[in-house]
Amino acid sequence: MPVAISVDASEVSENLRRKQGYTFPFLSDPKADVIRRYELLHPRGSPEGTDISRPAEFLIDRSGTVRWENFTEDVRVRPRADELLAAASAIR
């Protein structure tokens, strides 16, 4: 199950979730506490110069162990679905 996390307020995320028709949870971390704990902070990265998360994806199993991860070098470059699906199918 995907879980999306950003600094966006709940209402903003809910808006995005509805517009895109996503059914998975969108979590709000407006103060970037969790983003900081995961070492993913992009200081002053937003258009308004506030702290945001860098794009990153972690596939974790039930023990909370990372099985696959992706840090992009370019915000325009998204993770490859085939890599992710291969890692996901390895979780039993």
């Binding site: 199950m1 995907p2 879980v3 999306a4 996390i5 950003s6 966006d8 709940s10 209402e11 903003v12 995320s13 809910e14 995005l16 979730r17 949870p25 969108f26 979590l27 709000s28 971390d29 506490d33 969790v34 983003i35 704990r37 995961y38 070492e39 993913l40 992009h42 990265g45 937003s46 258009p47 945001i52 998360s53 860098r54 794009p55 990153a56 994806e57 972690f58 596939l59 974790i60 199993d61 039930r62 023990s63 909370g64 162990t65 990372v66 099985r67 991860e69 840090f71 992009t72 070098e73 370019d74 915000v75 325009r76 470059v77 998204r78 490859r80 992710l84 996901a88 979780i91 039993r92």
Partner: protein, 152 residues
């Protein structure tokens, strides 16, 4: 006898401008399912190539003005293509300007820290709760944590 009507027109400024515009538009390719990894480079290459062709047009119009006409159109095309090129370079730089200091982020094989955050309806949920599954649904075998920039 040479008058202005016998001078050739050069298409180079317009071809070049077209390529720089195409370069800017190519940033949207990932949205239509194009493999994204090469897009940043395609955009930059198109913009640079376009600008070089515009420069060729400028050189023809000004350097070889006895052969080619179109000083004004070449200048206009050059001004616009320079804008698009500057935009492409700025966008290329800022899109890749991601802090490198994520060395301490969870690595493959490590456990991620638990957390509790409000979901989009305002209810607090923890990582553990997400794994336990919601009412009537089978608990997930795995979770894909997607950290994104927001502002969509």
């Amino acid at each position: 006898m040479t008058d202005t009507t016998t001078r050739k027109r050069t298409l180079a400024p317009w071809v070049g401008l077209f390529l720089t515009v195409l370069g800017a538009l190519s940033n949207g390719l990932p949205f239509i399912g194009f493999p994204a990894a090469s897009v940043p480079w395609i955009s930059l290459l198109l913009s640079l190539t376009g600008f070089v062709i515009v420069l060729l047009g400028l050189w023809r119009a000004f350097g070889q003005s006895t052969v080619y006409a179109g000083k004004l159109s070449a200048s206009i095309a050059a001004a616009f293509s320079l804008l698009f090129l500057a935009g492409a370079i700025d966008f290329f730089w800022s899109a890749r300007h991601i802090p490198a200091e994520s060395a301490a982020a969870p690595q493959v094989g490590q456990r991620v820290p638990d957390f509790t955050l409000p979901d989009s309806t305002g209810h607090s949920v923890s990582l553990t709760q997400l794994f336990s599954g919601s009412a009537g649904k089978e608990p997930p075998k795995g979770l894909l944590l997607i950290f994104y920039r927001g502002y969509w």
